[in-house]
């Protein structure tokens, strides 16, 4: 009998504090597995956000820094510039990255900082109790949009991957999801590729993960994953938005 799947050693044994069915745990595991498989665990430094993932560095068996709200790309910039041989990752949610941290992520991408950002987009503020985020879908209910987001009042959601793909600094941008096992496999490949590009020093790499928030969406975890497939992905299409390593440099 052979073990074909077990918990990666790049995660600690600490029980995660996330709600049942929260996809943060899946993405934490993917990042940890990628670093373990490439042998980079001891060289990795993760800059974690404010939000539900604020304690993420306790779950990773590598170095981490807890950053000011939205400022993980700025912190990571400093870390990478003085420790060029380290793998520097920022792990951020949508309230952190697409709202208060928009400035930092746009300019880190524009400068082509040689870091990797993992962006969890679940369309809501999780930790603070379900307020409307910049990524909340039109019509989607939140505690600050009781009747659903009205674009006439609240504006339209941000598509961060598309926005950053217009810049010259990023080397690789892909949007993935984790709502099915096949999507989880694809998400892992995307993270692997982003980390490889960072190691080659080719530029900024960005992986957006369309994720769920069962608690604040008011759904069971399984229903929330269905919502991701039926509502979130049509608005946030999956795919590669920029890849300078592809033939012709998309």
């Amino acid at each position: 009998m052979a073990v074909v799947f077990e918990k990666t050693k790049a995660l600690t044994d600490l029980k995660m504090h996330y709600c049942p069915g929260c996809a943060h745990g899946i993405v934490h595991r993917l990042l940890a597995e990628c670093l373990e498989e490439s042998g980079d665990v001891k060289d990795a430094i993760v800059a974690v956000p404010v939000g539900c993932a604020v304690f993420a560095n306790k779950y990773f068996n590598f170095d981490g820094i807890q950053c000011a709200h939205g400022r993980a790309p700025a912190t990571a910039t400093g870390v990478k510039r003085v420790q060029k041989d380290k793998i520097v990752i920022t792990y951020q949610g949508d309230g952190d990255l697409a709202s208060i941290g928009t400035c930092e992520i746009v300019h880190a991408a524009a400068r082509g900082e040689k870091i990797t950002t993992i962006f969890i987009n679940n369309g809501i503020y999780g930790m603070t109790g379900g307020q409307m985020a910049p990524t909340t879908l039109p019509g989607m209910k939140a505690t600050t949009a009781k009747n659903g987001r009205d674009p006439a009042v609240n504006g339209f959601p941000l598509r961060v991957s598309e926005m950053l793909a217009t810049l010259d600094g990023p080397a690789y941008i892909e949007r993935v999801s984790v709502s099915t096992p096949a999507q989880v496999t694809q998400a892992k490949k995307a993270i692997q590729k982003a980390l490889e590009i960072q190691k080659k020093g080719l530029g900024f790499t960005f992986i957006e993960v369309v994720s769920s928030c069962p608690t604040n969406w008011g759904m069971t975890p399984v229903k929330a994953m269905e919502f991701v497939r039926e509502k979130m992905i049509p608005y946030y299409p999956l795919g590669v938005y920029k890849d300078i390593t592809a033939e012709g440099g998309k």
Binding site: M1, A2, V3, V4, F5, E6, K7, T8, L11, K15, M16, Y18, C19, P20, G21, C22, A23, H24, G25, I26, R29, V178, T180, P181, V184, T185, P214, T220, P221, V222, M225
Partner: protein, 70 residues
């Protein structure tokens, strides 16, 4: 004849049911009798049809599943 075996770490399982929803052989169910220290009904294997596809483990947010293949 089972080709695989899933082992659930019942202490850290939060009973979210994502593993149950993706199993192609309906091997897993949330326990109706067990309850863990955090108050969740953990997932458990209810038959021996497992094919070791690892779909459940890939979806588990808490790394509570180990899969073995015969």
């Amino acid at each position: 004849m089972a080709k695989g075996k899933v082992t659930i770490n019942e202490d850290i399982c939060k009973g979210c049911g994502l593993c149950v929803s993706v199993c192609p052989k309906q091997v897993l169910e949330l326990s109706k009798t067990k309850i863990n220290a955090s108050g969740y009904n953990p997932a458990e294997a209810v038959n021996d049809e497992c094919i070791a596809c690892t779909s459940c483990a890939k979806m588990c947010p808490d790394c509570a599943i180990t899969v073995e293949r015969f």
